[in-house]
């Protein structure tokens, strides 16, 4: 199977050089050959594991962290906000 690395990289928000494209193509093809051996299982079963149902926390606002603590890891901050490139014209 031919794998379109350029397209996958675009979907994954990654850039790939020509050299990387060639390398990943060969490697992904051999990985897909390996995973292609999976048997076909006909089943209408649910894919969800019901033995341990998840219970989410109540959606209640809590003041867990100070704004400065959260922002201290952001690459660029201005006036208490994260700076990103312009996204609208």
């Amino acid at each position: 199977m031919k794998v379109d690395i350029k397209h996958l990289a675009k979907l994954s928000r990654l850039n790939t050089t020509d050299e990387e494209e060639k390398r990943f193509e060969v490697q992904l093809q051999s990985i897909l050959e390996m995973v292609d051996k999976l048997p076909c299982i006909s089943s209408n079963d649910s894919l969800v594991d019901c033995s341990n149902p998840m219970k989410c926390r109540e959606d209640v606002p809590e003041q867990l962290y100070k704004r400065e603590e959260i922002l201290s890891n952001a690459p660029q901050v201005q006036a208490g906000c994260v700076v990103v490139p312009k996204v609208i014209e």
């Binding site: 994954s12 990654l14 992904l28 089943s43 998840m54 690459p75 490139p85």
Partner: protein, 486 residues
């Protein structure tokens, strides 16, 4: 006396008998790190000052006569994908090279409640993806039993630190064997707990439905002790199981009379080295001589488990790693003109090859037209594998298998061949797919001097049975505590 060579249980008793202080134990471990770290390279961050501060606090509490946990004052290292407030947590990736979490993972909070001493953060394969600990952005960790060999991955730093005496106990994470394989390669004990028994809150996610945090130690007692401290329900993790857990140390019982040990033929097939098979079978026979019953069993879907594992884990990884975009935390590229370029250049410069490969594979198997052929098929196989295990556990109480197909390999030997590298996980991945607990313990050494590991696998929440049978074997062979000279 070289305190770093002792087990947590021995040190805990000495602390209570006032034969040493926590500061003395901590200094012994820090000295050991200073002396051998340039050879082993187990740590990304060493927290000497914090460790001494925490040790002093334990000594003060003990002097006041406070009743403390058996883990109090014991130096513990933590894999660098587990969040520690105010201490760098990098996931061994350039993309998180400067990330200092504003909160603690639940497991670290629980260890702090038990007054442990943090020695630092341990090296791993980037985002826990790998089987050799060669995929770190920062350094390659070596196997303390032979520095030219890998310690196994992805928790290679955690295994190597315990083996080398650079920590008494450590935590790692296991998505497809990442605790058990390095435990086997480094000759220590490694436990992959039942999925849901240890909170994943604060563990940087790789494949959320398979990841589980677990301990490394140099004895079964120590492993049971630290597992008792970290297991239990957590409201911060919706997947954590709501149930009560026993005191695993107090309940240790080495009577294995009548214990049925299943030997699945698929784990002793072609591909597993003769030396490994021989050692594991000798261990099985030793247990048989002491009352266990050996039962030949079969798990036919094992052959497909590796494929299912790589599909499910890569799919989840591609989704989990979408959050690393250079906006909120971590590395941001300097080279961009717009938002999309910022995302793409940040991720391309920040992630290493193995991570990129898995993101691409994950994106592929989840993409339109391929979902049913790959992801859905793998999820159905996951169910079949769990059913097979459940049926097998009607014939036996625990399973015994090799942990790896061979002993550790040389650094660089498999770096350019992902398929060869992935094959290392063949004996361990099924356990994660089925969400079961498994423990890897040492079972002798090969002719090349490197340790061999074997694993016991049990039904969900059967950690006590795994500790019991492992403890019996540990007693029979005279212990696992073998810190090499470096």
């Amino acid at each position: 006396m070289e305190l770093y060579k002792l087990t947590a249980t021995e040190l805990s008793n000495m602390l209570r008998n006032k034969e040493c202080s926590s500061v003395e134990i901590t200094k012994s471990v820090i000295d050991r790190i200073t002396n051998v770290e340039n050879k082993v390279n187990a740590y990304i961050t060493v927290t000497n000052e914090l460790a001494i501060e925490q040790a002093k606090s334990v000594d003060e509490k003990l002097a006041k006569g406070n009743k403390l946990s058996p883990l109090a004052g014991i130096p513990v290292g933590i894999k660098d994908n587990i969040c520690t407030k105010d201490v760098l947590t990098t996931c061994a990736s350039k993309i998180l090279y400067n990330f200092v979490p504003p909160y603690n993972a639940t497991v670290y909070n629980r260890l702090l409640d038990n007054d442990v001493v943090l020695t630092g953060k341990l090296n791993l394969d980037e985002f826990a993806m790998g089987s050799s600990c060669e995929n770190s952005y920062f350094k390659k960790t070596s196997n303390p039993h032979n520095l030219e060999y890998v310690p196994g991955g992805s928790s290679g730093g955690s295994a190597a630190a315990v083996a080398a005496g650079e920590a008494i106990l450590t935590l790692g994470s296991d998505t497809g064997g990442s605790i058990r394989l390095p435990a086997a390669y480094c000759g220590v004990v490694g436990l992959k707990p039942t999925y849901g028994s240890v909170s994943r809150y604060g563990l940087v996610a790789f494949a959320s439905s398979l990841d589980q945090i677990g301990p490394f130690a140099r004895s079964i007692n120590d492993t049971a002790m630290i597992y008792s401290a970290i297991c239990g329900a957590d409201k911060m993790d919706a997947t954590s199981a709501k149930r009560e857990y026993p005191n695993f140390v107090a309940n240790l019982n080495t009577n294995i009379k009548g214990l049925r040990i299943g030997l699945p033929k698929e784990y002793f097939a072609e591909g597993v080295s003769e030396e490994v098979k021989q050692n594991v079978m000798e261990a099985a026979k030793l247990l048989e001589q002491n009352g266990a019953v050996l039962v030949p069993v079969s798990l036919p879907s094992t052959d497909y488990a590796l494929s299912a594992y790589y599909i499910i884990s890569s799919a989840e990884a591609s989704s989990n790693l979408a959050r690393f975009d250079g906006v909120k935390y971590g590395y941001r590229t300097e080279n961009y003109n717009n938002l999309i370029e910022m995302y793409e250049n940040t991720r391309s410069e920040g992630f290493g090859d193995e991570v990129k490969r898995r993101i691409l594979l994950g994106t592929f198997v989840l993409s339109s037209g391929y979902y049913d052929a790959y992801y859905k098929r793998a999820k159905l196989l996951q169910k079949q594998i769990l059913n097979e295990f459940n049926e097998t556990f009607e014939q036996c109480d625990v399973l015994l298998t090799p942990t790896g197909t061979d002993t550790a390999f040389k650094i660089g030997e498999k770096s350019n061949d992902p398929i060869k590298m992935y094959a290392n996980d063949i004996c361990t991945v099924t356990v994660n797919i089925a969400g079961l607990p498994a423990i890897s313990i040492p079972c002798g050494k090969a002719k090349n001097g490197l340790p061999i590991g074997m694993q016991f696998i049990g039904p969900k929440f059967s950690e006590q049975s795994l500790f019991n049978v492992s403890k019996k074997y540990e007693d029979l062979v005279g212990g696992f505590n073998d810190v090499p000279t470096l």
